[in-house]
Amino acid sequence: MMTSRRNQELALLVLVLGISRLGFFLVDEATKNTAAISRALAVGVAILVFGGHGVIRWLAPAADPLIYPIAVQLNLLGLMMIHRLDVADLLRETSSSPSTPEAASQTVWLMLGIFLACATLWLVRDHRQLQRYTFTAMIFGFALLLLPLLPGLGATVNGARLWIRFAGLSFQPAEVAKIALPVFFASYLAKNRASMTAIKSRFLGIGVPRAKDTGPIVLAWLLSLLVLISQRDLGTSLLFFGLFVGLLYVATGQRTWLVLGAVLFASGAYLGYRLFGHVQLRVMVWLDPFSYSHDQGYQIVQALYGFASGGLFGRGLGQGFSWLVPYAKSDFILSAFGEELGYVGLIALALLFGVLVQRALKIALTTRDDFGQLLAAGLALVLGLQMFVVFGGVTRLIPLTGLTTPFLAAGGSALVANWIMVGLLLRISHTTTLLNAPSQTTTAQTTSSSSTGDAR
């Protein structure tokens, strides 16, 4: 069974690499790009991807066969689009100061990402080990979130104080907090869910939780507000609050938490709207972007034009004006996809994300331990919420916030964090499959890694 799972993964990887290679080829054909970077990337990436597959075969042979290929596919499609936009930059440049291709640095981050996913598999032999670090994860996560506020370390980019600069490198610590906090929430809730489920009184037909149980959710809410206020980062604040409320619901099964969460979110959002000009502006631009099409709404309007220009089937890779949208390589990479691959292309991307999230939730469903369930569900929520907030933001379903598109967008911190999540999901999946397998003596022998693999 494990071998067939890995063979499925291998077959999918071959397909994924083929699709990506075709994408690069089409971009280079359409843009008459002759630079050798595509071929160099193709070879390097193929070695890397199969290397990662080898490590999974070795360390997590029973893991879900779809997660790794989907992550690779999304990442390579993102790389392809970044390459396409690099070429556009190059074409529009007047010979002087050729910019370094961002596709190259993204490839380096991809390498680091896959390496760290493998390292995660190697270090975390059983996801239940992580439960030991409940409060370490909490402190680590909160510290990462608040790190950019430290004077001398934090840096403000585009109005949001999300970055730290250290030794010439910039890094978004909140991205790593996206792993640390699910670990904390999952292990905290796994320990306390029994007591939190107990309801003492009912009010207007809904259960009212005990005051002492409401402490954590209020704390999480306050932390989110703090992030919103201090770092002017709507997206991250929304993500963490949504993650916490979602996991609270999963852990306790009480809709009360969802209602309370919604109320707190609404009040927080209203507070933010009343207190901060930039939040108001975001909302105004969201409601009527065309009135701001030359200033604050320029980006979203250009993105909408990009989507419209792409139409149902897109203009073809390398053939649109996707570079017109500011930050097309990072925050607005979806508009580049929409313009060049059309609605059909975006449906494909959305489905890839959808399947990835559903696989993570499937792992959560099949895992037997509470912590594993909550962690997998938390990771699924982080991916799903990010995707929804970004996708909804650039397509004007909801106001624009500053979150990165998982796997697709240029940006090292997010990519590395997402790959570590992939590593964790693979680990939970592997452990779960082995534990659930009735008696897989033969397969258990082929794995040299699992300490829990003794099915006898």
Partner: protein, 484 residues
């Protein structure tokens, strides 16, 4: 917890559907309206990102797109320059397009449905898409000769092939450089455009097609045609040609430009009346024929009708419900009679072409980027303006105007030329307009020319001959140059 996880999974799936449904509205349903929004630069970039096809005259591009290093991939250039501006028009980022650039934009930009096979081929071959080519009927040498001969004076020259209706020359003077308005720098475009608008001579006006002026004595060709067509007069009919005739119901008199009778006897034949451009004889003739007959003849030549060549030409005017005095004045091309240079060229062309009026046209053919002809204009017969025999008589009379009459400047060695002069009072203190229409026959080809120089000369009938005549002669000479 399985129940909650399933519920969570459902919520996320609903969110995904909401995303895609919302996106469908933007990307599919509102796609066209978003695409056409004013501040959407993509349309422009798209147009300027493709190589727009050339406008060609005699196998040489007079308008073409060249690659630039700027944001817009191509820039429109006009090697034909000012001389060809009335035909090409301009293609501007700021002010849109005019002329052939506007009318044939779907072809030139490659958007035309007939180019779909071409587009597919380009797509499959991986070539940059390229627009189609429009070839004009103009002859570059005649166009330049006419433009140079006008030498910056306000006026128009139209030359046509009488047998086909092909417009060989379409000159407006003074003209403008379409390149200045079609460059990719909007600030410079605005500057150039404003300067042109401020110029009192209206260089962007398409005079040969839109400037209607009193045609003066050239209109006597229409009156003579009406007389012959009436059957009551021949070339040899004798008409009164006194120094002046009284205008009915008016104290005014209509004088000859010679300030005397048209002959010693005071009587002239119709032929002689045309030769010396006898005002009194034609005024009398017009009153004899009546306003209705004149109107009918004028309309047979194209008056009171606007047409597209495909650039839209203003309708020349022969006024309705004239009294006798007005009919007399109209018979010598004054009062409210107005004609464009194109109209007078059409009158001359119909006379030359056995009375058959051919539709004037400027576009020879339309080709795809790889020069496969996808549309070509064939000569189109409009109507018979006069009988074959009468046309022959009138053409012969025009020839004697050159040999024995006022149009001596139309003489060209080796070419049979017929012509008619005109000096039209412009109704103000300004100098009159000098007209000259000519028809030349050489080796079976019939080419007609109409020239008007606005406020071009003295009050004498001779000014048409002296000022406009040499321009017409230069154009005809070029038209029949050996080797053409």
């Amino acid at each position: 917890m399985s129940h909650q996880i399933r519920r969570l999974s459902f919520i996320l799936a609903v969110a995904l559907v909401a995303l895609l449904a919302n996106l469908a509205v933007t990307q599919v349903l509102q796609s066209d309206s978003l695409r056409l929004r004013q501040d959407n630069t993509r349309l422009l970039l798209e147009e300027y990102g493709r190589e727009r096809g050339a406008i060609v005259v005699d196998g040489v591009a007079i308008a073409k797109s060249v690659k630039t290093s700027g944001t817009l991939a191509y820039e429109r250039r006009y090697p034909g320059g000012e001389a060809f501006a009335p035909a090409t028009g301009f293609y501007s980022l700021v002010y849109g397009a005019t002329g052939i650039e506007r009318l044939y934009s779907p072809i030139l930009s490659g958007r035309d449905d007939r180019l779909i096979v071409d587009r597919l081929q380009q797509l499959i071959a991986g070539k940059q898409p390229k627009g189609g080519v429009v070839t004009l009927t103009l002859r570059a040498d005649m166009q330049r000769a006419a433009y140079d001969a006008l030498a910056g004076r306000a006026g128009s020259v139209v030359a046509m092939d009488a047998a086909t209706g092909e417009i060989l020359t379409l000159v407006s003077s003074p003209s403008y450089d379409p390149g200045a308005i079609s460059q990719n720098n909007p600030a410079k475009v605005r500057e150039a455009y404003t300067a042109l608008l401020d110029s009192p001579l209206e260089p962007m006006m398409n005079r040969p097609l839109t400037q209607s002026l009193p045609p003066g004595s050239t209109f006597k060709l229409v009156v003579a045609a009406a007389a012959l067509e009436s059957g009551r007069f021949t070339a040899d009919s004798v008409l009164p040609g006194p120094a002046a005739i009284a205008l009915p119901n008016s104290t005014k008199k209509l004088h000859n430009w010679q300030l005397g009778p048209c002959s010693k006897s005071g009587k002239v034949t119709l032929r002689r009346a045309l030769e010396v451009s006898c005002n009194t004889a034609f005024a009398w003739l017009g009153m004899q024929l009546g306003a209705d007959a004149l109107e009918k003849q004028a309309q047979a030549f194209g008056f009171n009708d606007s047409f597209a060549v495909p650039l839209v030409a203003a309708a020349s005017v022969f006024p309705a419900s004239l009294d006798e005095a007005q009919t007399a004045m109209s018979s010598i091309g004054q009062f409210d009679v107005r004609a464009t240079a194109l109209q007078m060229a059409m009158v001359t062309a119909a006379i030359t072409n056995s009375g058959n009026l051919m539709a004037p046209h400027l576009v020879k053919n339309v080709m795809s980027a790889d020069l496969a002809v996808i549309e070509s204009t064939s000569p189109s017969f409009v109507r018979s303006a006069m009988s074959v025999s009468n046309a022959e008589v009138l053409l012969d009379m025009m020839r004697s105007v050159v040999t024995n009459g006022t149009a001596s400047s139309g003489k060209i060695d080796g070419i049979t030329v017929g012509a008619k002069t005109g000096t039209a009072e412009s109704g103000t203190a300004a100098l009159p307009h000098a007209w000259f229409v000519a028809t030349g026959q050489f080796q079976g080809r019939n080419i007609v020319v109409a020239v008007v120089v606005e406020n071009g000369g003295g009050a004498q009938e001779v000014s048409g001959n002296r000022i406009a005549g040499p321009i017409a002669a230069a154009v005809l000479k070029t038209a029949f140059k050996q080797g053409n």
